[in-house]
């Protein structure tokens, strides 16, 4: 067959076929077809036999005798045609095909296709070809070069390529009766299959190792073929077919149209066919989403149409997620940049060119977008002197991170004004993806407000202190534990102490011993009950005098209701006390005292007055009168209302006076009312009873002092504290104030409460109590250190895990712990300010993480993977599998150039490959590469499949090489061993005389030993092309194929006797056996068959059967005669001769018995079914000859047997049977020469043999008969007839001679006599 040359034949064949068709039509005159044989079915090889054997009556075509003439003609043409031809006849498309077409049907379709419909046989492609068939039936021929059909003809679907031509076969009336398909398979099937399989194996291996899915799309059929992995991904069964819509359906909705467009583009010739796209697929069963990278290309025919589109699918879910994360982090960075209220900028290059800046930055710098692209100093020249440019350079050149905290920066605004803004900032190197520093990333946080707020707090405290110090009264504050923590200057001056000496319990030292207890009791009571107090005690002034001091204290309650201690104001009331004392002491001398009193009171700013029990003024000192603006006469004798008191005021005092009359005790109070000149003032007043001698209240003495100034000081104090609190409260950044070593939260603003996720109830609790999760996060220690040392603690980007709503969340803070010191410098608490920078940090972390992902991918990869960094190929990262492959430990190779860590790999060519990949950026991969590597303490040769992939940074620069390797030594060694074993098997098989062959699981024979080629005289190429069936005798082929298919399908041993054509054209009987070879699971792996030449055995069986038939017949003939005569005799004998009758009867019985014995003997012999046994011995042939002649001579009186010549050599053989031959020849000679009197027997020795001839002068034989006797003995029935005429012995004789490796023949002339010859070999002694 000329299948390999295509193109040329494709163009020629349809014409060629048409020509034959035309020629045959013209020459096929109507002819009468015999009912027994159909001339048009003659010829053809296997298919001819099958078509003739087929019972067509059950097919739509009916008996061949009824076929239309054009079909008959076409079939006839087809059968002898060497090209593949196929007819689909009628509406049913009933199939008939020739030997040339047969291979296309493989083993699964042939021979079943014969006589059934194309629809059934080619159901897997019927949807493709149906329209073409219909078109042909309408008279339209079609043809396709290199047409691919995915045929399932060997139990798997394979892509087969054919040059096809479909042409109509017209009936005599011009109608189209059927489709003629001429076809040439355009690939040498065997080779293609083997090559494909091998390359597929390797590809498969690579695909498996790389964990790729593969797909192969046929644009003509719209079908996909995918490997099992792909189907797993798609959620399909392994045996499922994939069509394009299904493949698109598993794609994520969002990607579908994009992928479709990419496919359409690739299928266009102009696109070059390349296809490279990433998209998501969703497993139809598990809904698992997977991101895949599809790569492939379309293949185009000469018509520029795509006929195939195939490629791979790689699961890049992990990479894609990693990449997405990077993108997200970048996106986040952008987001932060764009939405951050804080200025962020990136400066590039050593000149610090502003590349990226967000809106807040531009605003801060008072510039617009035009500033982008300009160097830093050009935009802000004032920064040079402030050292910032140097810092930026430092970061850029020395890979540093510089942070600033509340750093003041002075800007010179366009209008020339200076503005100081405080920043917390970070200057950090800005790296490209390859790690190279190309600029500086600046993140700044404007903390001016914070700084100013802090300043304000400090200032407010300062103001309070200065206010207190400037006040005319004594001022102190005490803490919640009765310790005085502040006293003002007035007090210190009064008692003559220095600042630090006046605090704590120092007051005790200056207090009159009699008053200490009273004071302590009152103060402690006031502190513990958090209530105001008022006390008058004697205290030692700097002059060593005890002075009466009036102390009024009020609790300091914070806004949240917490008690913070006391604040108090004191006034020296010694003078007033003295007055009071005098009043009491010198009651009797009222007048005198009055004057004195007058004199005293006249000069005091205090208001002094006396009321009678009717609440009329009986005395008012000048200060009071001045306050009222009245004269003595106008005022004295008038009651309160009359002296201008407001009604509520008057009523209050009247009530108090009544009380004093009853209790005889003083009442003290504070009241506010307008002063005639000074406006509204606050007054402290004391009403004291004036007792007469009887001890009854006679009058009320009152003193009133203007304490407006003292009160204002108190209010100022409170106001200042509130102001500070309000400010802190509303600060946008978290602020908290913790007091004491326990860090009791005294204050926490909303921002810090938000950060903590807590409510207002934290106030008064300890820091540890509300944030226990900070234990082990260093914070407690930091706080404690600040408290102990008084050194502020600042930190940036500190990771803090906080429990929010029961869930631990990670935050990042910039925070400060600032010690709060009292005026003595003692630390009493800590102020905590913070900024939540969590978002920024998470973004940074995500970038880090994506890089870690790559690393972890390498480390966890199931195959050996490593990363060589830089041009020295430093092992930067490698997984355990790679260490195993290298035969090294991590210590040997990590962070070293690979050829330094693995010197064993040097000079094996890998240096150049790595260098090549590094410089060209082209991926290098190779399979089964030998390399010597350390193994088990020595050096061994191993084989690896490996890939070197350049690793590029985002900017495209190659920074290293990613290596993936698989040790395939075991596989390769195994394959080699298999090859060696196969070689051995072939050697052994080829040296065996038997025919040995093997077949694959589909029954296709794929190996024949040398004996097959020697025997058949065919070349391997001939057997490959036309099949082994050509060796088989045409009569045996049909049964043979049937039996073989049966065995292959059923998996049962094959056992068949058939004739094989020898190189010289002789057919010899063979016994073929084949047994399936199974693996451990019992699956058939292959078939091993033998064919043994059983020609001799077969022949002997035949001889034996012939002998039995003839012997049986011959013995029975005389029996019949004897028996007949005996019976006749019995009939003739009369009743009277009883004795003779008895004898005849006995003889008849004996003959019956003999007949039975003959029958039994022959039956037994048949049953035995064995060989005729020969007793081989070496004997004196000549002696045997003489003995035989003598015996025969006794049987005849007419003939004389004359012997000439002699045999000198002994003969090895069966003496009795050879004697039988001689007896037979001599008997025949006598029998068939009734009119002669001589028989000649001649013996002569020839080289290696003895020849004997027996000559008679009898009736003779025609030459035609002679041939039949000696050559065609196997047709028992037919030839026995001739032997009958010549005597049974001749048939046996010739066989006995043959069995002795001799030959037998005859010369004869009718009427003149015959000469029978035979030879037998003689074997020399040695």
């Amino acid at each position: 067959m000329v299948l390999t040359i295509r193109g040329f034949f494709f163009d020629e064949i349809p014409f060629f076929i048409k020509f034959i068709l035309f020629f045959n039509m013209k020459n096929s005159a109507p002819q009468v077809v015999s009912s027994h044989e159909y001339p048009f079915l003659q010829g053809g090889g296997e298919m001819g036999a099958l078509i003739r054997a087929k019972d067509w009556s059950n097919t739509p075509l009916g008996e061949p005798g009824t076929w239309p003439q054009s079909l008959c003609t076409m079939v006839s043409v087809m059968l002898d045609n060497p090209f593949g031809m196929y007819i689909a006849w009628g509406k049913e498309y009933t199939q008939i095909y020739n030997d040339g077409y047969r291979p296309i049907l493989g083993t699964t379709k042939h021979p079943y296709a014969l006589g059934i419909s194309t629809r059934e046989t080619f159901k897997e492609i019927w949807h493709i070809i149906e329209s073409m068939f219909d078109g042909v039936m309408n008279g339209k021929p079609v043809g396709f070069p290199d047409f691919m059909l995915p045929l399932n003809r060997n139990n798997f679907v394979e892509d087969c390529y054919f040059d096809f031509s479909y042409s109509p076969i017209r009936k005599e009336n011009g109608e189209v009766g059927g489709v003629l398909v001429t076809v040439i398979e355009t690939t040498n099937k065997k080779r293609a299959e083997a090559d494909l399989k091998e390359s597929k194996d390797q590809l498969q291996f690579a695909i498996e190792a790389a964990e790729l899915g593969t797909w192969d799309y046929n644009p003509l059929t719209n079908k996909f073929i995918g490997n099992n992995r792909l189907k797993d991904w798609f959620g399909l069964q392994h045996d499922a077919e994939i069509e394009l819509p299904l493949a698109l359906a598993v794609m994520a909705e969002k990607d579908r149209s994009r992928v479709e467009q990419a496919i359409q583009r690739a299928l266009k010739y102009e696109s070059g066919g390349l296809y490279n796209i990433e998209y998501s697929i969703i497993n139809a069963l598990t809904r698992q989403e997977r991101i895949v990278s599809a790569k492939g290309r379309a293949w185009f025919g000469e018509d520029k149409k795509a006929y195939r589109f195939n490629g791979t699918l790689e699961d890049i879910t992990d990479q894609a997620i990693a990449r997405k994360k990077i993108e997200e982090s970048e996106h986040r960075f952008r987001f932060i940049l764009e939405h951050s209220l804080d200025p962020i900028l990136i400066l590039k290059g050593e000149n610090m060119v502003l590349e990226i800046a967000n809106e807040p930055l531009l605003k801060l710098w008072s510039v617009d977008k035009n500033a982008l692209g300009k160097p830093f100093l050009e935009i802000l020249p004032e920064m040079k002197e402030q050292g910032f440019f140097d810092m930026l350079q430092d970061v850029y050149f020395n890979d540093k991170i510089i942070k600033g905290n509340e750093t003041p920066v002075t800007f010179i605004r366009p209008d020339g004004t200076k503005e100081i803004i405080y920043f917390n900032f970070t200057y950090q190197p800005y790296r490209e993806e390859n790690g190279k520093i190309t600029g500086v990333l600046v993140i700044a946080s404007n903390v001016t407000w914070q700084v100013e707020a802090k300043k304000q707090v400090e200032e407010s405290e300062e103001r309070f202190r200065s206010l207190a110090n400037d006040m005319a009264a004594f001022v102190f504050t005490g803490d919640a534990e009765t310790n005085v923590d502040f006293v003002n200057r007035q007090w210190l001056e009064f008692v003559g102490l220095k600042t630090e000496e006046g605090l704590g319990k120092a007051w005790v030292t200056v207090t009159h011993p009699d008053d200490v207890e009273h004071m302590s009791g009152t103060y402690e009571d006031a502190v513990s009950n958090q209530k105001p107090y008022e006390i008058e005690i004697r205290q030692l002034n700097t002059n060593g005098e005890y002075c009466w001091v009036l102390w009024k204290g009020i609790p300091r309650i914070t806004k949240d209701g917490r008690f913070a201690g006391m604040i108090g104001v004191g006034i020296d009331i010694t003078y007033r006390k003295k007055i009071e004392q005098a009043l009491y002491d010198q009651q009797a001398e009222t007048e005198k005292l009055q004057r004195l009193y007058e004199a005293v009171t006249a000069n005091t700013p205090d208001l002094i007055y006396i009321l009678d029990l009717d609440c009329r003024f009986t005395y008012a000192n000048p200060a009071l009168l001045a306050m009222w603006g009245k004269s003595w006469d106008e005022a004295i004798g008038k009651n309160l209302l009359e002296n201008g008191y407001e009604p509520w005021h008057a009523a209050m005092h009247e009530r108090e006076i009544c009380e004093i009359v009853l209790t005889k005790k003083s009442i003290r109070g504070t009241v506010s009312f307008p002063h005639a000149e000074l406006g509204k003032r606050i007054y402290d007043y004391i009403f004291a009873p004036v007792l007469n001698s009887e001890g009854n209240v006679e009058a009320i003495a009152g003193t009133t002092r203007d304490i407006t100034d003292i009160t204002t000081a108190e209010e100022d104090l409170l106001k200042s504290e509130q102001q500070m609190r309000a400010m802190v409260e509303t600060a946008p950044f978290p602020i908290g104030v913790y007091i004491g070593r326990e860090m009791i939260i005294q204050f926490a603003n909303q921002s810090i409460l938000n950060a903590w996720g807590k409510g207002n109830d934290v106030i008064g609790k300890s820091f540890k109590q509300i944030l226990p999760e900070l234990d082990n996060q260093d914070v407690f220690k930091q706080l404690d250190d600040v408290y102990t040392t008084g050194v502020p603690y600042h930190t940036k980007n500190q990771k803090i895990d906080l429990v929010i709503d029961g869930e631990t969340k990670c935050f990042y803070f910039n925070y400060s712990f600032t010690p709060l010191t009292d005026s003595t410098g003692k630390v009493y608490g800590v102020m905590n300010t913070a900024a939540d920078v969590t978002d920024l940090n998470l973004a940074k972390l995500a970038i880090q993480k994506s890089e870690e992902n790559l690393r972890s991918t390498i480390l966890q990869a199931p195959v050996a993977m490593c990363f060589f960094k830089g041009e020295n190929f430093i092992v930067d990262l490698s997984n355990e599998k790679m260490f195993e492959l290298w035969g090294k430990t991590a210590n040997d190779v990590m962070h070293k150039p690979i050829f330094e860590g693995l010197p064993e790999a040097k000079d094996q060519g890998f240096e150049a490959i790595l260098q090549g990949v590094y410089t060209t950026g082209t991926t290098f991969s190779a399979d089964g590469v030998p390399i010597t590597l350390p193994r088990n303490g020595g050096i061994e040769l191993v084989y690896v499949n490996f890939v070197y992939e350049p690793y590029r940074e985002a900017n495209g620069i190659i920074s290293g090489i990613l290596a993936v390797a698989i040790d395939v030594t075991t596989q390769l060694t195994a394959r080699k061993k298999i090859e060696e074993r196969e070689q051995k098997f072939r050697l052994l098989a080829d040296s065996m005389p038997q025919h040995i062959w093997t077949a694959d699981t589909n029954g296709n024979l794929n190996y024949y030993n040398q004996s097959v080629y020697d025997y058949s005289g065919l070349t391997p190429q001939q057997i490959d092309t036309d099949g082994w069936i050509q060796i088989v005798h045409p009569d045996d082929r049909e049964e043979n194929i049937k039996a073989w298919i049966h065995s292959v399908n059923a998996g049962t041993d094959f056992h068949f006797e058939h004739r094989f054509r020898r190189y010289d054209g002789e057919y010899r009987w063979q016994l073929s056996r084949a047994v399936p070879q199974r693996d451990e699971e019992g699956n058939i792996q292959m078939w091993v068959g033998t064919s043994t030449d059983i020609q001799e055995i077969k022949q002997m069986d035949q001889q034996k059967d012939d002998f039995i038939s003839i012997a049986s017949h011959e013995m029975k003939t005389p029996l019949t005669t004897a028996k007949g005569y005996l019976e006749l005799l019995q009939m003739q004998l009369s009743e009277e001769n009883q004795t003779i009758l008895l004898y005849a009867s006995k003889a008849n019985q004996a003959l019956e018995r003999l007949n039975g014995l003959v029958t039994e003997l022959l039956d037994a012999s048949k049953i035995q079914n064995g060989q005729l046994n020969y007793n081989i011995s070496t004997f004196d042939f000549n002696a045997m000859l003489d003995e035989t002649i003598e015996n025969i001579q006794h049987t005849t009186k007419i003939h004389t047997i004359q012997k000439t010549g002699t045999a000198f050599h002994p003969v090895t053989g069966d003496k009795n049977r050879l004697q039988q031959v001689l007896i037979n020849l001599l008997s025949n000679a006598i029998k068939y020469s009734p009119n002669a009197d001589k028989v000649f027997i001649k013996v002569e020795e020839q080289p290696g043999k003895i020849q004997v001839s027996v000559q008679d002068f009898g009736i003779g034989l025609s030459g035609q008969h002679l041939d039949k006797i000696f050559n065609r003995y196997y047709r028992v029935q037919e030839h026995a007839i001739y032997f009958q005429g010549l005597g049974i012995g001749l048939y046996l004789s010739s066989n006995i001679i043959q069995r002795h490796d001799g030959t037998m023949w005859a010369d004869s002339e009718p009427g003149k006599g015959s000469t029978f010859y035979f030879t037998i070999p003689i074997y020399s002694e040695q």
Partner: protein, 118 residues
């Protein structure tokens, strides 16, 4: 009128024996040791029955019977007359009308013949 029987057998002894038996039972027999000219023999003798040996020169009994059976003008029943062990099957195969197995008992021989020609 005597019934006429043709016997074909290559063994002259058998032919002689059968002739003897048949004449005893008042049949007229013609014997032949070759079957080459059977159609002519039939036309000449117009037999009522034919006995045909199988191993007989020149073309053998089987083909001879086939030739006779093919001739639509010949209605004469024809029986196989053989020592062949497979005689029953052969009878069917060659479409013969019946058979007589060798060796035979005379009564069976005569009864079989009577069955066909009375």
């Amino acid at each position: 009128m005597k019934k006429h029987i043709l016997i074909y057998d290559d063994d002259p002894e058998i032919l002689f024996l059968c002739t003897a038996i048949l004449s005893k039972y008042n049949y007229e027999a013609q014997t032949f040791s070759r079957c080459d000219n059977i159609i002519a023999d039939i036309e000449k003798h117009k037999p009522d029955l034919i006995l045909m040996d199988l191993w007989i020169p020149d073309i053998g009994g089987e083909k001879t019977i086939a030739i006779v059976k093919e001739d639509k003008n010949i209605k004469t029943p024809i029986l196989i007359f053989s020592a062949n062990a497979d005689i029953k099957n052969l009878t069917k195969k060659v479409n013969a009308d019946g058979y007589i197995e060798k060796p035979f008992a005379i009564n069976i021989f005569i009864e079989t013949i009577q069955k066909y020609i009375g």
